[in-house]
């Protein structure tokens, strides 16, 4: 199994996710970038589960998918609320933290 290759793939996906979060200002794309980061992590978990023949990695990946689902649920709820109050989905127009 090409574990090192998989690790590098995970790193690349992680960096893509980070870049997306930092650069894109559409909150949906930011949310999907965050999911990408989570998936990069999942990939590493599963790769190591296979490498050490330990189901722990797979269990944690499962939990992490659950976490992602919860996150998306709440995140989309927030987006709907923001859209209603601010009439925008652009993160640079949402600066409530400043006030």
């Amino acid at each position: 199994m090409p574990y090192n290759g998989i690790l590098i793939m995970a790193v690349i996906l992680f960096i893509i996710g980070i870049t997306g979060v930092m650069v894109r200002r559409n909150i949906f794309i930011m949310l999907m970038s965050i999911e990408l980061i989570l998936n990069a992590a999942n990939l590493v978990f599963i790769a190591f589960a296979r490498a050490f023949a330990d189901p722990a990695g797979q269990v944690i990946a499962l939990l992490s998918i659950t976490l992602a689902a919860a996150e998306v649920g709440v995140g989309l709820g927030i987006f709907v609320a923001i859209r209603r109050t601010h009439n925008t989905v652009n993160v640079d127009e949402i600066n409530l933290l400043k006030h």
Binding site: M1, P2, N4, I6, L7, I8, M9, V11, I12, L13, I15, I16, I18, G20, M22, V23, R25, N26, F28, I29, M32, S33, E35, L36, N39, N42, L43, I46, A47, A49, R50, A51, F52, A53, P55, A56, Q58, I60, L62, L63, I65, T66, L67, A68, A69, A70, E71, V72, G73, V74, L76, G77, I78, F79, V80, A81, R83, R84, T88, V89
Partner: protein, 162 residues
């Protein structure tokens, strides 16, 4: 050997789709590219003897999460002018910083050599994972279910019109 090749192909597909995902203007397109990333990863999972996880990835991630995102994007129906991106100095710096982070992480990962052992044939089966989840990892499992419950209630509460 075939498996290795397939992993690289799926990996390349995932990376390509990821790039497309953050490069496309329209979030609907991004969401579809995102779905493709998830599919590719599910393929890698399956090749790495995590069949159950591959199934969950497709069912939950592609089937539920991606669809939900697409649905909400369509629901909100925002102004197309929002899609016009601005290139700022900060974004340029952000890309450079991300590149530096990439190089740093490569230094860490490049130093590793993982040989791995051959797992037993039943590894990755649903029964196997279920046993581990409900015995050794019962507590995290319970915690995550409470989290999920809270998220469901919270999501409904936040999104509802008052």
């Amino acid at each position: 050997m075939l498996a290795t090749m397939l992993i690289y192909i799926f990996g390349a597909l995932a990376i390509f789709s990821g790039l497309m995902m953050i490069l496309y203007r329209n979030p609907i397109h991004s969401a579809l590219w995102f779905g493709l990333v998830l599919f590719s990863l599910a393929g890698i999972y399956a090749l790495m003897q995590a069949h159950f996880l591959a199934l969950i990835q497709i069912l939950v991630y592609v089937g539920a999460i991606t669809v939900l995102i697409v649905y909400v994007i369509a629901l909100l129906n925002f102004d197309q002018r929002d899609l016009v991106g601005k290139v700022t100095i900060l974004k340029g710096i952000a890309v450079i910083v991300a590149a530096i982070l990439f190089i740093e992480l490569l230094f860490y990962v490049g130093g590793l050599y993982v040989k791995g052992i051959a797992p037993p044939p039943e590894f990755g089966k649903a029964a196997n994972i279920g046993l581990a989840t409900l015995t050794r990892y019962l507590f995290p499992f319970e915690v995550i279910s409470i989290l999920l419950l809270v998220a469901v209630v919270g999501g409904v509460y936040i999104a509802k019109k008052d």
